[in-house]
């Protein structure tokens, strides 16, 4: 179980400390997505693993070997770039075989591996074409093909889908997942798109300002975010946060302008360990529902008043741009395709799915 390991890695550009300190381990054969807003240091992390960017401190191990100061070609990695970076003067076959030719592999082996990769990626009929004669999706495939023929220990992806249109992106997402199943290689994938992270990853690493905020499976980071940043970043549309205060002694409640919600037993237990009474509550848009919907009458559902500004019809559900008191929120409510636009009034929220965060530190209370 070697995989890829970052041990105490730091990175500074001049006086700017981009990555203060990072310890991270990727298991062999695992698909890990590093996700975060632009400038969070995720690409820098990937480039350090690739050897394109020297570390300022710490060590990097790939397959159990210390490669901290090894040049890229000694790291047994392959990389797919955001811009594809195909060699324009070579045809598809030339692009895919370049690494093998540089390594001086025998001609029939090169041809064989290129043919296999081309078949896998459905590029066989394009082998003689130049990159400029290919569509965006085909170029993307060639870039992947170039990585696949290397049969490297670890594959690195730097936002490889962000130049594709939405439809193609979802197709390529599926293809990548299938590819990972077939190749069973360690894959490290960087993106700012949390949907890509959620759909493809075995584990997600969420970064902000050079610091790892949370590492976990897609389910774990969605259901139990460690802090307010992760909670807001994962999930689409993103989580609503409301400023609130804990009140009451026998039965704890969260109160704020325009709402007063009782805490679920689980949250109550957690708040007893927490001294701060100033909290932010997190409500996911998809956990709102209309009154009278099936199963929503249980005591865990709290009534909450929404002032609806706009109701967007998107088929089986409606997106609400609304306010609770004076705090803006979004809600996504399943009402069926024939329903009239939703209006202001009392809605229900599943208190079992409510999150509490310390307002000062942002850390999750439960």
């Amino acid at each position: 179980m070697h995989g890829v390991k970052l041990s105490g890695v730091t990175k500074a550009f001049g006086a700017t400390n981009v990555i203060p300190m990072m310890d991270l381990h990727f298991d062999e054969g695992e698909f890990v997505v590093i996700v975060g807003p632009s400038g969070c240091g995720k690409s820098t992390t990937l480039r350090m693993i690739a050897g394109l960017e020297p570390v300022s401190g710490g060590q990097i191990f790939i397959g159990g070997k210390d490669v901290t100061w090894a040049p890229p070609k000694e790291r047994d990695i392959a990389m797919v770039f955001q811009s594809y970076a195909l060699y324009p003067h070579m045809n598809v076959a030339g692009n895919m075989s370049f690494a093998l030719r540089l390594a001086g592999r025998p001609k029939d082996e090169v041809a064989n591996r290129v043919r296999k990769a081309a078949e896998l990626l459905e590029l066989t009929e394009y082998l003689d074409r130049r990159p400029r004669d290919l569509s965006g999706g085909q170029r993307q495939r060639v870039a992947m093909g170039r990585a696949i023929v290397r049969d490297a220990y670890c594959f690195l992806f730097d936002e490889p889908l962000s130049n594709l249109d939405a439809k193609l992106r979802s197709t390529m997402r599926t293809e990548l997942a299938i590819l990972h199943k077939r190749l069973k290689r360690t894959m490290i994938y960087v993106t700012h798109d949390q949907i890509e992270a959620m759909t493809m990853a075995d584990r997600i690493v969420i970064m902000d300002k050079g610091i790892i905020q949370q590492v976990g499976t897609p389910r774990a980071v969605y259901n139990s975010p460690d802090n307010r940043f992760v909670a807001g970043f994962i999930g689409s549309p993103s989580m609503n946060f409301l400023e609130a205060e804990l009140a009451g002694s026998d039965e704890l409640r969260v109160c704020g302008k325009g709402f007063d919600i009782p805490l679920s037993p689980k949250l109550r237990a957690a708040t007893e360990r927490n001294s701060s009474r100033e909290v932010a509550i997190g409500l996911r848009p998809e956990h709102f529902s209309i009154k009278g919907a099936g199963g929503s009458q249980s005591s865990l559902f709290a009534p909450i008043n929404l002032t609806v500004d706009v109701a967007e019809y998107i088929g089986s559900s409606q997106f609400l741009a609304a306010r609770i008191g004076d705090q803006p929120i979004t809600a996504s409510i399943e009402v069926g395709p024939d329903s009239a636009p939703l209006e202001s009034g009392e809605y229900l929220f599943d208190t079992n799915r409510m999150y509490l965060f310390n307002r000062k530190t942002g850390a999750a209370i439960a």
Partner: protein, 279 residues
């Protein structure tokens, strides 16, 4: 509508008329050169110039080919022209690449100020260059002339190639590095093929300047190392200027750069890097 159509037509006529005038201004001296080369002395010296209709003679060409050292001068010019172009592109390419890819303060200033050196006319350099070369006893050596032409042309070539290198996405180099290429392999196998048009443009300029240069060549060469322009000036004699022979030689001098430009210009294909990055 009709008015517009007439207006459009007039504009087209004006457009072509102005192009014709410009073409005439450009072609006229060339015609004078070519036609004079085919005239005998009497025609050349005639007070009223004959522009088009005269009986052509190959006498001037015959004289140049048989009596002068034309073959020696041609060979010298070819050696100096191609070698200085080769070295200019080789070193200029390395310099421009380094300038385009290394980050240091004042990088763009350095790249642009190389042009300043280009603004110094060779005539200013002629006397010090002559003194230097004679001091070292290196006059009458084609290597010295090649060296000077390379030095003269480098700034412009660096500036020009710098612009071309900057257009090549860094990710292409990174992809090659990941693929296992050494720095020289990155340069020669990935960048060079993409820089063809840049090298072609720089090569055309460099070769043309080296081919036509007169003053330095006059000062730094001797009987056996003269280049073609210096050779042509040999027809300015004590007894008069032999215009017919000078023009015939001029006509011959023009041909090799034309051939060179023809082949070099075929490398200038716009959009070579299209499809490298993005969709």
């Amino acid at each position: 509508m009709i008015g517009q159509a007439i207006g459009g037509r007039q504009a087209v006529i004006m457009h072509y008329a102005s192009l014709a005038v410009l073409a005439l201004i450009t072609l006229m001296p060339i015609w004078v050169m070519v036609s004079t080369g085919f005239k005998n002395d009497v025609l050349v010296q005639q007070k009223e110039p004959v522009w088009f209709f005269f009986v052509p003679t190959l006498g001037n060409y015959e004289y140049i080919m048989t009596r002068g050292n034309f073959d020696v001068y041609l060979w010298n010019s070819i050696i100096v022209g191609t070698l200085s172009t080769f070295f200019t592109l080789l070193f200029g390419g390395f310099c421009a690449y380094a300038l385009a890819r290394t980050e240091f303060r004042g990088r763009v200033l350095v790249a642009n100020s190389t042009l300043l050196v280009r603004m110094v006319p060779p005539a200013v350099l002629a006397v010090p260059a002559f003194a230097m070369v004679v001091n070292f006893g290196l006059n009458n050596d084609l290597a010295v002339l090649t060296f000077f032409y390379t030095a003269l042309n480098l700034p412009f070539a660096i500036w020009l190639l710098f612009g071309f290198f900057k257009q090549i996405p860094v990710e292409l180099e990174e992809a090659a590095i990941i693929d296992g290429a050494t720095p020289l392999q990155v340069y020669f196998r990935v960048l060079l093929p993409l820089m063809k048009s840049g090298y072609a443009v720089a090569g055309i300029f460099t070769f043309r300047i080296a081919w036509n240069e007169f003053i330095l060549a006059l000062l730094l060469t001797g009987r056996k190392t003269r280049t073609l322009p210096v050779g042509a000036s040999g027809f300015i004699t004590d007894t008069g200027v032999e215009w017919g022979r000078i023009m015939a030689m001029g006509t011959l001098i023009v041909i090799p750069p034309l051939i060179f430009t023809f082949f070099a210009a075929r490398q200038i294909i716009a959009g070579m890097t299209a499809g490298a990055v993005k969709g």
